[in-house]
Symmetry: none
Subunit: 205 residues, 4 copies
């Protein structure tokens, strides 16, 4: 007797997976990949160790799942809000704000995400590729906006991709400072600061 297209079992499964991802995210964010143990994740999720392996084939996979879900969520939120914004200016500001705000509200994710940048130089190539691909998507969204700005002559003719990376990095840095508690000011101020820097720095005059 499936209701709403889902059997009870499917609902349970979905719930379990969500719990597991959340537990994984929390433990990985607190300990880092290597110091996290499957045992601790299992306990936090309230299941036995073996149960994790019913949902994820390995520690790596669980880690990746936690991160990917977070990145996709951030991407999704950012994109949705940018679509609403009308001007190039508003879109860039929205991008900065959304990312910082999402990271602040999803600290566990942010810690994993951020530390993954650190790994990206030492990890085996295959894992790096996956991560870079997701990261590049963010930059791409921004790049298109920047290119629009350049066509409008709102922005001077710079290398759009380099600029996009720069904005991403500045935003990430700001997020870090807020998550770590170094910056305890208003979100608005942090966004304004970056946006001003960028908008003036790239401005056409």
């Amino acid at each position: 007797m499936p209701i709403l297209g889902k059997t009870k079992r499917e609902v349970v499964t979905e719930f379990r997976m969500a719990e597991l991802v959340a537990a994984a995210r929390k433990v990985f964010s607190e300990r880092g990949f290597h110091n996290a143990t499957m045992e601790e994740i299992a306990q936090l999720a309230g299941v036995a160790k073996g149960t994790i392996y019913l949902y994820y084939p390995s520690k790596q996979a669980a880690y990746w799942a936690a991160m990917e879900q977070g990145i996709l969520g951030m991407l999704e939120a950012t994109r949705r809000n940018m679509d609403v914004a009308g001007t190039v200016e508003a879109k860039i500001r929205t991008f900065i704000e959304c990312k910082i705000s999402y990271c602040e509200q999803n600290r566990d994710f942010f810690k994993i995400y951020y530390s993954e940048f650190g790994h990206s130089l030492t990890q085996p190539l295959r894992l790096r590729k996956q991560f870079r691909e997701l990261y590049a998507q963010q930059a791409r969204i921004l790049k298109e906006v920047l290119e629009e700005g350049i066509r409008n002559q709102e922005i001077r003719p710079v290398a759009a991709d380099a600029a996009a990376f720069a904005i991403c990095d500045l935003t990430r840095s700001a997020a870090t400072q807020r998550v770590l508690g170094w910056d305890k000011g208003e979100l608005r101020n942090a966004v304004d600061f970056i946006f001003d820097l960028v908008w003036k720095g790239l401005g056409s005059r």
Copy 2:
């Protein structure tokens, strides 16, 4: 028979330590902290595993020594060159150029350094403190220059420390792209790009 204030033993010790730091740097940079083994470091340095423990009390310590040396070197090089530069403008440009250039020439160090940012959110507090302290020194140098610029009215009255962090991050990002080979252009162009962004972004008009 001490010569030049150093006994033979001290010279040998110093030499050994330098070799060990270099080996550690290389191995840690290739494998990351957790996947590096003392065995590999020892082999690369041409000593036995136990010997490392005569110079460093733990793996962590060896890691930290490798990183600290690198950061201090970078700091030193940057400072020396900035002192020569006359204007605020030149100093900022020098800062950016020196850091990128140092990172490009010391890739092993850079990889460790960069990945340490990733760890800085998940590491135990004590280690983070040490790292942050060194990192903050760089920002401080820059902050003073920016404050000078603000007094001169070359730079508009922004929060100097936030701006300093922003410049550090932008610079680090550029270094990353160059070390990873994503940016294969002239060093000059990368420096110009960041400098222009910053100088225009922070400029007084």
Copy 3:
């Protein structure tokens, strides 16, 4: 509504068990006891893992069932054919031929059977007993024939049980070589070889 003395349930049960034994035989023969998994057996039998436990209390039991069925089948086939044979000579030849031929036609069984000899030295005593008992039955059949031959003076007065074991072993070895494909000749030749060796070796002259 029992028909032919069996209710529908009994028929289904019997069918299920036959399927399970066949699946177990196949998987055990391919992987060996330890590397076989209940999961794989279940899949091959087209049932869920838990279902196996409705028919067999443990992995060991399933394994044993697969083997026992095979041994009894071999014993039965051998006995039936020996009963038809008239002379001692014919009976011995039939024994050899039946065993080899049965093994060639039931390779899954043979692999388990053969590997069980290997286990028989390291297994806990209780399991060994069961296996040895079945094995001894074969030797006993042969022993009686040999004793008949000795009474007839067709065979010289040797220890009948030792001779029976020897013939069993020679036969098993021949079967192995055929199953492994080392001996690709006619079945007839293999049988002749063993029989000649034995008949001449044990002959009264």
Copy 4:
């Protein structure tokens, strides 16, 4: 200060390895490969678990080392005694006697050796190859003797390799019965029985 071509360390290493092989042999022979644990082997050898891995890269390797050493020992002993024997008849008898006697005196080895035959049908190909290769060496020695006998017309013109295998198998069976305690008679009798069977069975008349 090496003495007799060996440093003290080498002597210790050699001793350690011998102890480990012996412990491995004992544990594997009692439990079988899968039920043996590295922990138990280590305890029996009086070392820590990790120490085993200094000498053997894996459980498999330790197992194989224990077996190989035993097979080579048996081969060596057999060959040495056969070389002394003058006639074909004496050589065959010696072969049978040596093998049985070696197995009786090295029961731990024999159990592993014997059980390996069982595995040889289910093991991955690579391992089987190694084992079969060693096994085949024994058969080859015998085969050459048989061929000599055929040339001498002491033996009727049979397939020498099939006969060699048959003798090996008969011998192994006899060894099994003695090791298991089924045959508690004189070694001499067991040897005589097999030899008579074979010698009459293959005899030229």
